[in-house]
């Protein structure tokens, strides 16, 4: 068996607040190869904090501990800042939720992609420019040269998100973490963005961690799904076996969605069992 790309064992993220300690992530363990892993949960389940902890992006009062948190054999908790900098954006990158907030508003899209590329590869400006244009074409921009010189506010949400994917993939990472990459987009646009993401991930054989609140979307997009509740993984299953989910939370989460196919009313609601959070 191949060595896993990412190993996470007993990951904890704690926030020391005035009012006490809040544990956002409580002992999450998983391994990831070159596959698509989905992390699903509702707000406050710790799914985003798990993604951020991998990249070392836990915001200040937060504290990350783990028995093991390693990327391709490199321990991310003890690695020097310098090592982390070369990994982050280079071999591991992250697509955030909303392009409106996560792109630099005062730099053109092309400049931002060039900046990302030159931070990790020794390349002349001309090379970087070619690479950026090629990347914009890879995310199916109709007119890459025009988009290259546009500012983020001049493009639509779907285009912005594709620009961000271009920026994140320009360094040929081995692992991509996508935190709700399509939640800010319209349904038809988000399908288009997902299709592009899917093609690029398959083409380059990357590992993908796809974080979302949308169980249906995740199960149709990923190979494997982790369901999180109150900072813990309550269930791990193959995406295609989702209908065989055993945990009442997963089952409840699936049933409470209205669907076009069945007209159920009243909709089954979730009775949160306090023992799930133990």
């Amino acid at each position: 068996m191949m060595k896993p790309l990412l190993e996470v064992e007993d990951l904890h993220v704690r926030f020391h607040l005035r009012t006490g300690i809040v544990e956002a992530v409580r002992g999450v363990s998983f391994q990831l190869g070159r596959e698509r892993l989905g992390i699903v949960g509702e707000s406050g389940s710790g799914k985003s904090q798990t993604g951020r902890a991998i990249l070392g992006l836990t915001p200040p009062p937060g504290e990350v501990t783990a028995k093991r948190l390693a990327f391709d054999g490199v321990d991310l908790l003890t690695a020097s800042k310098r090592t982390l900098r070369t990994l982050r954006g280079g071999r591991i990158s992250m697509v955030m939720q909303d392009p409106k907030y996560s792109l630099n508003p005062v730099m053109t899209i092309g400049e931002q992609i060039i900046e990302a590329y030159q931070a990790h590869a020794k390349a002349s400006r001309a090379e970087a420019r070619d690479k950026a244009l090629a990347m914009l074409e890879a995310v199916k921009m109709r007119d890459p040269v025009r988009v290259f010189s546009l500012y983020p506010h001049e493009v639509s949400g779907g285009m912005g998100q594709r620009a961000m994917i271009a920026m994140m993939l320009v360094t040929d990472p081995d692992l991509l973490i996508a935190d709700e990459p399509t939640s800010a987009l319209d349904v038809t646009v988000s399908m288009e963005v997902l299709r592009i993401l899917d093609e690029l991930v398959a083409e380059r054989g990357m590992g993908l961690v796809f974080i979302s609140h949308d169980l249906k979307l995740v199960s149709s997009f990923c190979d494997r799904v982790l369901v999180m509740y109150a900072g813990r993984v309550v269930e791990e299953l193959e995406a295609r076996n989702l209908h065989e989910a055993k945990h009442p939370y997963t089952q409840g989460l699936m049933r409470c969605l209205p669907t076009l196919a069945n007209d159920v009313r009243p909709l089954p609601t979730l009775n949160r069992d306090p023992s799930w959070a133990l």
Partner: protein, 259 residues
């Protein structure tokens, strides 16, 4: 109950002119629930805002209960029509307690017996009297949306305008709010106009719906037709398909299985 004919809403003039709603017509009968579906920028929310006076009616007619609406809207209008907004984190006053939020419409309309009405309104949306003196930050998203619904219902309106009432909520909380809305409509004989980008939510709550795109009506259809996958326009079909989740094109190379 509600009759909208050739509604146009235009913002700005000359170079900055935006035709947000173009020639939209529909009617909603008493006790019916009508959906407006579309993607962002389709003008669906603008239609709602035009009905309740938050956006200008450039031309066309909006009739409520057979009477054309006056601008600005009268107090009587707001006794008949009330609105619930999308984001319960933004639509409740952060420094007003639930009690104050709920008593304001009563005070404006000179209603007596505020205390009993407030307790009754809280009961109707499934919250106990213990919520009465809380601030919005002491409530969860679902509880806040219940308060927003209670505020809209406290004047006993006949029509509720619902602007994406569940899209800021988690899936399990969405189910609770949808059930509540369904239940309230049956008990009080309310008429709903629901705006949403989620076809499944609209099909669940509404009998008929209008699909909008770029400010224009694409097609009017029934939820039953949507459920059986019948849609005449290509755009509606693509919305139905997108709502089924991601489908991988089978002609694409399968994902590397070596990992």
């Amino acid at each position: 109950m509600l009759d909208i004919q050739n509604l146009n809403v235009v913002f700005g003039t000359a170079r900055l002119r935006v035709d947000a709603v173009k020639n939209v017509s529909f009617t909603v009968r008493q006790g019916e629930s009508y959906g407006l579906v579309g993607e962002s920028g389709s003008g669906k929310s603008t239609v709602l805002r035009a009905i309740c006076g938050l956006a200008p009616i450039t031309s066309g007619h909006v009739r409520v209960d057979g009477k054309a609406v006056a601008t600005p809207r009268s107090k009587d209008f707001y006794r008949t029509v009330q609105m619930v907004f999308q984001d319960p984190y933004a639509s409740l006053h952060p420094r007003h307690t639930v009690d104050r939020t709920l008593s304001e419409p009563l005070a404006i309309h000179g209603e007596k017996d505020a205390e009993a009405r407030i307790l009754q309104a809280l009961k109707e949306v499934g919250l106990g009297p213990s919520f009465r003196f809380r601030y919005p930050h002491q409530l969860s998203g679902g509880q806040r949306q219940r308060i927003a619904i209670a505020r809209a219902l406290i004047l006993r309106p006949k029509v509720l305008l619902l602007d994406e009432p569940t899209s800021a909520l988690d899936a399990s909380v969405q189910a609770e709010i949808l059930n509540l809305l369904d239940d309230l409509r049956r008990r009080m004989g309310l008429t709903y106009i629901l705006v949403s980008h989620d076809l499944a939510v609209v099909a669940h709550l509404c009998e008929r719906l209008l699909v909008m795109r770029h400010g224009e009506a694409v097609e009017e259809t029934a939820s039953e037709a949507l459920r059986s996958g019948k849609a005449t326009s290509e755009y509606t079909q693509s919305l139905i398909q997108a709502s089924q989740g991601f489908t991988r094109n089978p002609s694409q190379p399968a994902h590397a299985t070596a990992g």
